[in-house]
Amino acid sequence: MDDMYRELILDHAKNPRNHGVLEPCDVEYEAHNPLCGDRLHLTLRVDPTGRITAIGWEGDGCAISQASASMLGEEILGKTVDEIRTMSKDTLLEMLGIPLSPNRLKCALLSLEVLKIGLYGREAWRETEDE
């Protein structure tokens, strides 16, 4: 499982892109992973056309959750709120490109959860649940 910590992940974890809190911002949401105490706080600026113009992430967590937030942030910058809607768990996991056990999956997906709930509300995230 050491390949969970490949170069790119460690780089993002140690040098998170878009780290910080935007003030003011248009979208703000924070969530926790109750099982391990990970926390992620997201702030976004969205222009009138629905395009994401700035991102700020901040939180506590393991390398996986930090890297996932950093990589996801890079990915969505410049996209529209509509374009992000179709982004799935699999998109994010492919981006990370590492083998993840179910409990670590929660760490990896926390960033996507915060993003989706922040943009579309709790129901939208629920729909992605399997069974």
């Binding site: 926790h32 109750p34 099982l35 391990c36 056990s101 179910p102 409990n103 670590r104 649940e129 069974e131």
Partner: protein, 417 residues
């Protein structure tokens, strides 16, 4: 293990070989005839093995562990939830709460939904045939909250009096309707779907005690439209300490938690805490992990046999049992002979107390139950102190019915009646 699913008829002899307890002699030279299935069923090897395998190979606490053992235990535990969800066709696995059994499930509903939704003067409508586990929790809540308990009476043929049920629903506003799907004493199968529809029309929430239904017939909670449904794992090939509370998601979301502790919280501070999402909100502390895995294995076994085949075969065996028993002089069938009914045959014998019947049958290798079967109010209503009950499962045979009847004749001889 049944290697393929059965279309219709059961290979009972083949299935029996999956159950180690059924292979034994009860006394030297006397094979066991186990007819106490309504109390608890025997377990197939696959269930015992599923639990031993957990303990031998990937025993670990669930949900919080990063190591491989904990990952595997968590996956197996949550997989069991999905197996159970499919088995009763719940809309979401979040609606499946693992419990110790039927009793804990009903108490959970009474102490969370009940405590927040029922107030002084509110009516809780049960039936006269309920098991203690669907009476006492409501009596306790009634004493605390000054609720009013009402009971739908029985007809003389042992069925619920549906006219009275309708009337009771209309006479005064009923907040909760609780009833058993299948009686553990009479075998009566209540018209659950209709009762739920009527209760909902009257604005009541419905709790179904399905302890004697889920093991014996295919159940679809979405088709039934019940609000809560509870059952025990140990009565359907699963281990002791296992059971399920099904609840509609919106209701469960709105309910306060019951027990506080690990896993059911999302954050704990010194002053206050936030609850975790479903189903964890209702599963405080280390859950019964091996038990959930064992119950999942039991359900997978039942799925292979198919509930349709089980139900069909059991209808055959209970019809034969009631017929044979009704021929015994001095035997009074408490189980009504009308259909549909579950696989229990309850009776009294003129001149012999039920305990003594059970004792003599035990000497002949036959395990039945005697007493009030946790339904004292029903027995009082029937004017009976104790009854003898033979209850069947799909692994029982027609020959075993014959041995039961022969044992009853032996008891009559011992007591010269």
């Amino acid at each position: 293990m049944p290697s393929e699913s059965f279309g219709g008829a059961l290979d009972v002899v083949g299935l029996r070989s999956d159950f180690p307890a059924l292979q034994q002699e009860h006394h030297p030279g006397v094979p066991l005839v186990y007819l106490d299935n309504a109390a608890t069923t025997q377990k197939p090897n696959v269930v015992i093995e599923a639990m031993s395998d957990y303990y031998r190979r990937y025993n670990a606490n669930v949900h919080r562990g990063i190591h491989k053992l904990s990952e595997e235990a968590t996956a197996a535990y949550e997989n069991a939830r999905v197996v159970l969800k499919r088995f009763i066709n719940a809309a979401s696995k979040r609606e499946i709460i693992f419990t110790r059994g039927t009793t804990e499930g009903i108490n959970l509903v009474a102490q969370t939904w009940g405590r927040t939704s029922l107030n002084a003067g509110d009516v809780v409508l049960l039936t006269e045939m309920e098991h203690h586990s669907n009476i006492v929790p409501w009596q306790m809540l009634a004493a605390e909250r000054r609720l009013r308990l009402r009971y739908t009476p029985l007809r003389t043929d042992g069925a619920l009096d549906m006219d009275a049920f309708r009337r009771l629903l209309q006479e005064e506003p009923v907040k909760l309707v609780g009833f058993m799907f299948v009686s553990n004493v009479l075998g009566t199968v209540n018209p659950a779907q209709e009762m739920i529809r009527l209760a909902h029309e009257a604005g009541a929430v419905v709790v179904v005690d399905a302890a004697q239904a889920v093991p014996h017939q295919s159940i679809d909670v979405q088709a039934l439209d019940c609000d809560f449904l509870v059952f025990s794992g140990h009565k359907m090939l699963g281990p002791t300490g296992s059971g399920v509370l099904y609840g509609k998601r919106a209701l469960l979301e709105a309910m306060p938690p019951w027990m506080g502790g690990g896993d059911m919280i999302s954050r704990v501070g010194f002053e206050r805490s936030e609850w975790n999402e479903l189903p964890y909100k209702f599963e405080a502390g280390t859950p019964s992990i091996a038990e959930a895995i064992g119950l999942g294995a039991a359900v997978e076994y039942l799925n292979r046999v198919t509930m349709a085949a089980i139900h069909h075969y059991e209808q055959e065996i209970i019809a034969y049992a009631l017929e044979r028993l009704s021929e015994v002089p001095g035997l009074h069938l408490v189980t009504p002979e009308h259909t549909p009914h579950g696989a229990v045959a309850t009776f009294t014998l003129q001149g012999i107390h039920a305990h003594d019947v059970a004792q003599v049958l035990d000497a002949h290798g036959i395990a039945i139950r005697a007493g009030h079967h946790c339904a004292m109010p029903l027995h009082e209503r029937l004017g009976l102190n104790a009854t003898a009950r033979a209850s069947f499962y799909f692994y029982n045979t027609l020959e075993e019915v014959d041995r039961l009847v022969a044992g009853i004749y032996a008891a009559k001889q011992t007591f010269s009646v």
